[in-house]
């Protein structure tokens, strides 16, 4: 999870946009690639729910990056 959080700091905004916005259409479930992976691969249901609940339309893309990193850091700090 730490590596994921670190990677989020360096990927392009297009990448974030693709895995959050495009994913909602692709997955057709209101989910996004990040929350799905965090739940299925890491078993972190609460964190996944938190990421899923972020409304991508009320954040800028940089804001979304920051909100996801903050949520991951809070979980790591527990």
């Amino acid at each position: 999870m730490k590596e994921f959080g670190d990677a989020l700091k360096h990927v392009s905004l297009s990448s974030i946009s693709y895995h959050v916005f495009d994913a909602r259409l692709r997955l057709e479930s209101g989910d996004n690639d990040f929350s799905r992976w965090i739940e299925n691969a890491l078993g972190e249901s609460e964190l996944a729910a938190k990421l899923r609940s972020l409304d991508p339309y009320t954040h800028t893309e940089e804001g979304l990056r920051g909100a996801m990193i903050a949520a991951i850091n809070r979980r790591l700090g527990e």
Binding site: H10, S12, L13, S15
Partner: protein
Amino acid sequence: MAVGLNQYIPVVGDGVVNELRLLGERLAGKRIVNVNSTRVGGGVAEILTRMVPLLRELGLDARWEVMRGTEDFFVLTKNLHNALHGRPVSFGARDAGTYDEVCTENLKSLDLDVDLAFIHDPQPAGLVRSRDSHSAKWIWRCHIDVSAPAPGAWEFIAPMVERYDLSVFSAPQFARSLDMPQALISPSIDPLSDKNRELGETEIQSILARLGIHSEKPIVTQVSRFDRLKDPVGVLHAWQSARKRVDSQLILAGGSASDDPEGAQVLKEVREQAGDDRDVHILDLPPTANLEINAIQRASQVVVQKSIKEGFGLTVSEALWKKKPVIASAVGGIPLQITHKYSGVLTHTIDGTAFWIKQLLSTPDFARRLGENGHHHVFNNFLLTRHVRDYLLAFLFVADGKEDIVRL
């Protein structure tokens, strides 16, 4: 001086640079020739000077060729430039003949054995006539405002433009009714160039002193070629009106481009109107005066861009990047850069420009906030890295057979 891609990381972050490298890999070795009509002077030459080395660093075999023209040809293309901006000019068979001759002559020496020919603005648009002799794809990049051309102007170049695979415009209102796909790509500024990089206060003052400018009074500046479409006389009148209430000095800094025969005439008119006012500085600078422009913009309290027509208005983004409050005409691509009273001010008249010069000089806190918002807006939208990305995507689109989705 070439600046490498990694030097942009502290400005835009490694995510942006990594994305460019990813796209570059998909275009590795592709031969691309850019053709325009001047090596120095004007926004197109400025962008190509920075962009071509970056494309090469990304692995593209990118070149830049400049078409050569006769004096008659450049007079014609200046008339065409004005006519595309709405000034009535008629074109006859003789003009078509002049244009054809110059294109034909250039085709004898231009190496167009490439994958992509990227042709900038109307001057070289006619080179596409040679497309059947090569396998290249052709992209026409229009940098100017063609939203309201004079009758006959668009018709002069449309038959040439129609032969391209893709056309690119800077703003939605410039797009034309054309059969091929069109892309909307704004131009950009290079944050690391001499025109835009950080300058120390000592360096700024030293440059100003060399230009004969002292900064005891606030400075209002317009940086633009001496061209009627930039309305330097209008700026002078607006400033004169504002100066009745708030004291300041005016800098009109510009130069000429080698493809613009009218510049000297406009400069003469401006000097006549200014008379011997010691608070007006009219600087005819060479196209290489990037540090000087940088220093002048940084030393200014207010920057003006009172264009009558504008394709994009790179000087607006340059000033916003330096956190300067900008008063600009609501024309062309300028409203893409300024949200009125948030990241700058948009005006429509000499009186409006005069009002806002007075206002911003009198309320420096508000002016500072406009500048900071403007800087942030340029960071998000108008830096060279975004521009390179958009061109790479356009190249991929054309190279990949113009599919809607290109899977990387």
